[in-house]
Symmetry: C2
Subunit: 479 residues, 2 copies
Amino acid sequence: MAPPLPPAYFLPRALLAEGWARDVLLTCRPDGRIATVAAGMACPPGAVRLPGAALPGLANLHSHAHQRAIAGLGEAAGPGNAGPGNAGPGAAGDSFWSWREAMYRAVAALDPPLFEAVAAQLYVEMLKSGFTTVAEFHYLHHAPDGRPYADPAEMSLRVLAAAATAGIGLTLLPVLYAAGGFGGAPAGPGQRRFVHDIDGFLRLLARLRALTQPAGGQPDGALPGVVLGVAPHSLRAVPPEALAALLAAAPDGPVHIHVAEQPREVADCLAQTGQRPVEWLLAHARPDARWCLVHATHMTGAETAALAASGAVAGLCPTTEANLGDGIFPAEAFLAAGGRFGIGSDSHISVSPVEELRWLEYAQRLATGRRAVLAGGPGRSTGRALFDAALAGGTAASGHGPAGLVAGGRADIVVLDTSHPLLLARDGDALLDSWIFAGNAPLVRHVVAAGRHVVADFRHAAEAAVARRFAAAMTTLAE
Amino acid sequence: MAPPLPPAYFLPRALLAEGWARDVLLTCRPDGRIATVAAGMACPPGAVRLPGAALPGLANLHSHAHQRAIAGLGEAAGPGNAGPGNAGPGAAGDSFWSWREAMYRAVAALDPPLFEAVAAQLYVEMLKSGFTTVAEFHYLHHAPDGRPYADPAEMSLRVLAAAATAGIGLTLLPVLYAAGGFGGAPAGPGQRRFVHDIDGFLRLLARLRALTQPAGGQPDGALPGVVLGVAPHSLRAVPPEALAALLAAAPDGPVHIHVAEQPREVADCLAQTGQRPVEWLLAHARPDARWCLVHATHMTGAETAALAASGAVAGLCPTTEANLGDGIFPAEAFLAAGGRFGIGSDSHISVSPVEELRWLEYAQRLATGRRAVLAGGPGRSTGRALFDAALAGGTAASGHGPAGLVAGGRADIVVLDTSHPLLLARDGDALLDSWIFAGNAPLVRHVVAAGRHVVADFRHAAEAAVARRFAAAMTTLAE
């Protein structure tokens, strides 16, 4: 599907590591990484000229691809909507927990081809919005009856195929889901497609290693653009001994985990362990720079500072966290303590770095009554600060190597349409402020991912075929 | 600019007052209102067929058109961004008040033709997003040096011309801005383009009446689609005696006022009058169903219940209120008390009913930890509840007559693209849930305003010419 690698890209205006530059010539290596990048150049014959404002592509560091199939379908009130906040399963009230039950029901029918069709559509949408890589937190492993497929990696292979079809960079995070709740509670019927014992999971991991890194050791694996990590689902789904076994089997590469998304999870963890989830994780698993703690919404001040000091990346998913009523991440304190973050579209109720970054900042404004809360200092552009942070944190958490348009980094370029009325007469960081904060039009005109020009003039090379397969899948699912 | 009135529209799927219907035939009167509407019809020869999901157009009940020129330009941190919340003018901190000073500086250069170019671009964007009418809270009356133009209605005429160019329905709300702050403080240099004494304002109002309603008495005025109201700017800018004089001179038609947007405004009002702004207004001006209280963010529980009981519409502007760090409107309590609301894009940092309604609900979820907070009861669609409320409240507050696709109502139709991957296999209220909550793509395929088919296949009839004039204006402003 992916078009061939062109000899070079010429970018009349681009955001480089050292700042905004003019007349940038960027050449690619055969592996999709940047060979050379230089400003003040002429456009040589054969180079692909991409007028507009060129940015590095952003990493989407948290995705559950199958949930794209139900985007928008969980917005009706359940019975007894007058219930209290953070009600548990079975309690009255429309909450994260009732949404989760509805999601479990809806995805029961996703077989491997339907799942691949949904994931390919999602990944095309990500590229068109400005995400050039995705970290797939993949837990839909087994058949609907809970039995492993003949190839236990069947569903993982569908993730790999969908990413290849779309041409998006992938961090595959097979998820260990060992229990239905704290204290090793058994998995419920809605969770049987997710569950492994540790031995079964390690077999899956070995199979995925063989698939993605047969020669071992390449930073990107033998499948171009694919990084393999692991994901203990959460402290509620992975008991301490299973977590230890998993970490022993995965001594390097990304480790992602859901943590402290909901107050009830905090209460359950306190009841079970005497510690709050982030507190427990910091004390027992000692997360470092290869870790991504997804959500981390509910933290004390001490947890916030300790997480920042750990070097782990906070995986923020502002639109999903708003849709699910999770709460507001303590971003100002976390950044002030030197914390790193990236963004993810998680449930895919929204698929756009613009909406994630805009509403990350806006939630802080609503909570504090101030503006430019995350700008990081006088005179700084809020849009630039958010973009730089999400680029650095997201790329690091995804294991994709150096961030930004630098030699050795992924050749991931997102070009904004500067002729659009929202970006007219804007230059430098004002382009980022206007892209992130102003209006609602799609402004991503071109996307290059791993050196390939996958979105040209607002259209993805495979979008019509992918949309047709997605339409057929949605019709099947609705039957 | 507007295309001629077709004989009829045929809507294969439409949301009528009685619910979703199939095969709807809708005919228009010469004044742009609906003559007849009936479901289960055949498509007659000559009717314009609009496949997709047809909705009534929404009212945008709060606009400051000139602020479209600076959308995205106010997102850099000011000096001393570490300051406290709700800092007043001159205090350290990036806040509503520092944004307001920046906005005053930026608009100083807007002469009448530049202003008209900006307003026309904005109104085209509104139509393309699904707003078919706009209530323009218009306070940019005078020349940059503060002197009235030769025709004191010069800038108002530009609003009328821009609305006619775009083909959007207009509620023109000339604003009385009589003082710079509570206690009759004099206007500052940034405010001199806004200020009238009451006699000067009443002369402007008389001139606008003659322009829009020469024969007097028509609900829509002699200019098609134009309603004339009045807007006392706020309690800080309109002393009690001026407010009384204004209301005496405007015994009917819409009355809009900014109120309780910022904590400092509440504190100043308390200090000046001993009452909070909404409390004072309810006690002294007795707002009723023709009133729209814009923002009303900071209310006690008693004020919230009393505002709901008054019959006045709350004018909510969630994206601007988030951008400016105003705070979260107590929507759940207000709706539970029977309150009415509409939505406005206000500063136009965003121009989309989707983002306003989505984040109106999401702010409630973030504050409560629950989902479907504004759905209004078990089994109800949140999207439908938000849409219905904003349609009814917005249309009423704008003085545009009966809301929805009913005989006598404005022939304002918004057709969603049901072939888009976000709306596939959706029907009924699930279409509204997916439109409002899912994804980030433009889904408004057709728009009919006052019977005219102004947006066809995602393109506005005048958009290229309007965008050219806007581009020239932005270039001039940037010089």
